[in-house]
């Protein structure tokens, strides 16, 4: 009886780290998927906002939709700030769950960040392509893995100027 209990204990001691590693890995994998979807949704919503919010009649008109800095880091708790309405739209994808990417670890990059003068590919001359990239530097729980993994997604819209 005593020998059997000791054997179980040894077996458990051997197996437990592997199980915990699998458990943490599974949790990280699930969270990475979740954040991956958030990042993809966020980039898409931000680029769609820029494409919907036409026409842009001047450089300042275009700039008013964009963040004051490019790249822009974070998702503010309130909308209407320096992040601009496009990032506000993208940040909607990141709320509401403890699994979400922390605001401080989100980085937005928009290209172009100034209104192009002529694209040369549009019949109207001033339509252009805009790409929003959202990046989340996700902290992992699993030992033996790198402490952070970078998850990014881009969305490209065609801004049609009427």
């Amino acid at each position: 009886m005593g020998r059997s209990r000791g054997q179980s204990l040894v077996e458990f001691a051997l197996v437990a780290p592997i199980l915990l590693l699998l458990l943490a890995g599974g949790a990280d994998l699930a969270r990475a998927y979740f954040v991956g979807i958030q990042v993809s949704d966020g980039a898409r919503e931000a680029s769609l906002y820029i494409a919907r919010n036409t026409p842009y009649t001047s450089s300042s008109d275009f700039s008013s939709a964009l963040p004051s800095r490019n790249p822009y880091s974070g998702c503010p708790s309130t909308t209407g700030g320096a992040e601009g309405p496009a990032i506000d739209a993208g940040c909607q994808a990141f709320g509401g769950s403890f699994l979400s990417c922390p605001s401080s670890r989100i980085i937005w990059t928009l290209s172009p960040d100034t209104l192009p003068s002529q694209s040369g590919t549009s019949p109207t001359g001033d339509s252009f392509e805009v790409t929003v990239t959202a990046v989340c530097k996700l902290q992992l729980l699993t030992p033996l893995l790198p402490p952070f993994v970078t998850i990014s997604s881009s969305s490209t819209s065609w801004v049609v100027q009427p």
Binding site: L22, L29, A30, G36, L48, T124, T131, S153, V160
Partner: protein
């Protein structure tokens, strides 16, 4: 150890399953970016074509069929990366309700480019506006990582998206001056969306006693010839107008505010009881005197056929929003040249706008 080995197989199998399902779901979100952006681009381009062909409000060069197709190709390709990239896609033009009209990718039905033959602008068929948007359906087919053990060697994700444009259902500051002059009421009252109606084409000046002000910014009651005071509610009077009179083209949507009177002195008397008005009206309307305003609203009418100035034309009610007080008391017409003018000048608005 045996138990652990068996359990490990189960755990690894489930983890693998989660891996494939998760990758598939992640891939779908990437495809959604492709379809959302591509369909939005098409709707925007069609809106430009609409403006171009209809010369409102700021006509640009139409994009035309081939440019639209190549742009969709480019946007679908530019969205997604690696496993989330679309391996194929289908694209269709749709009408204003999102119903497919014709497929233009990967194979183009002959009716698709043919629709653009008219001035290279907005697709039209039989003289009636047809294409108002696009449905894009990207698909990504890829091999599985773990599920192939179970015989599922590949999976497909798809993420369809539709974007359509329409016309502003209201008065826009951008006016080109079509005027719906007389709306001859059909049998049913009030008007309903989808109902076919007959209306007078732009004919601003009419013979006495129904002469009107001819004011470029006139947007109110046609029954009130000068020097009667013109009283219009604020949501109309705040907008600018135009005196230009242009024949209405098939497919054009005409949006006009409506103010009708039940009693306007000796000039135009309608066969309805004076003073009978709906309970709720926008502020600013006279509810007593010679100009009791009884029908207020906005109506959007799509012309079914081309309509020259001064002729009687056929159109279809597109929108008749009650949120704008959109009710219409339509009496039996005693005198079609006088009695039942509903409409205005300088308030037509065909500014294209995305609907979804």
């Amino acid at each position: 150890m045996v138990l652990f080995a068996l359990a490990s197989l189960l755990i690894i199998g489930m983890a693998g399953l989660a891996l494939d399902a998760g990758l598939s779901y992640l891939g779908q979100t990437g495809l959604q970016s492709a379809s959302d952006n591509a369909s939005l681009a098409v709707a925007r381009m069609l809106a430009v074509d609409y403006s171009s062909e209809n010369q409102v409000p700021a006509p640009g060069t139409p994009w035309g069929y081939s440019t639209i197709v190549s742009t969709v190709n480019h946007i679908v390709g530019a969205n997604g990366a690696g496993s989330t990239r679309a391996t194929s896609y289908q694209a269709y033009f749709t009408d204003g309700s999102g119903t497919k009209i014709c497929q233009f990718w990967p194979t183009a039905q002959a009716t698709c480019p043919a629709m653009f033959s008219l001035s290279g602008g907005l697709p039209e068929a039989s003289g009636v506006l047809s294409a108002s948007g696009a449905l894009v359906i990207p698909t990504n087919t890829h091999k599985t990582n773990v599920l192939d053990v179970l015989g599922i060697v590949q999976v497909s994700e798809t993420a369809p998206a539709t974007a359509i444009f329409g016309v502003v259902k209201g008065i826009s500051a951008v006016s080109v001056g079509y005027a719906v002059y007389d709306i001859y009421c059909p049998t049913g009252h009030p008007l309903a969306v989808g109902e076919q109606i007959t209306y007078y084409s732009p004919q601003w000046k009419k013979a006495w006693p129904c002469a009107n002000l001819g004011d470029a910014n006139f947007k109110g009651d046609l029954h009130s010839p000068s020097p009667d005071p013109l009283i219009v509610p604020g949501w109309i009077s705040g907008k600018s107008g135009s005196a230009a009179i242009t024949p209405v083209k098939a497919g054009h949507t005409i949006v006009v505010p409506m103010i009708d009177c039940v009693d306007h002195g000796s000039q135009c008397t309608e066969p309805v009881s004076p003073g009978v008005c709906p309970a709720s009206l926008p502020a600013g309307l006279p509810t007593s005197g010679n100009d009791v305003m009884c029908a207020v609203g906005l109506i959007a009418i799509k012309a079914i056929t081309n309509c020259s100035t001064g002729s009687t034309c056929t159109g279809q009610v597109v929108s008749f929003p009650s949120s704008q007080g959109g009710i219409l008391i339509c009496p039996t017409i005693a005198n079609p040249t006088c009695g039942n003018e509903i409409g205005t000048q300088g308030s037509e608005s065909t500014y294209p706008e995305l609907l979804k």
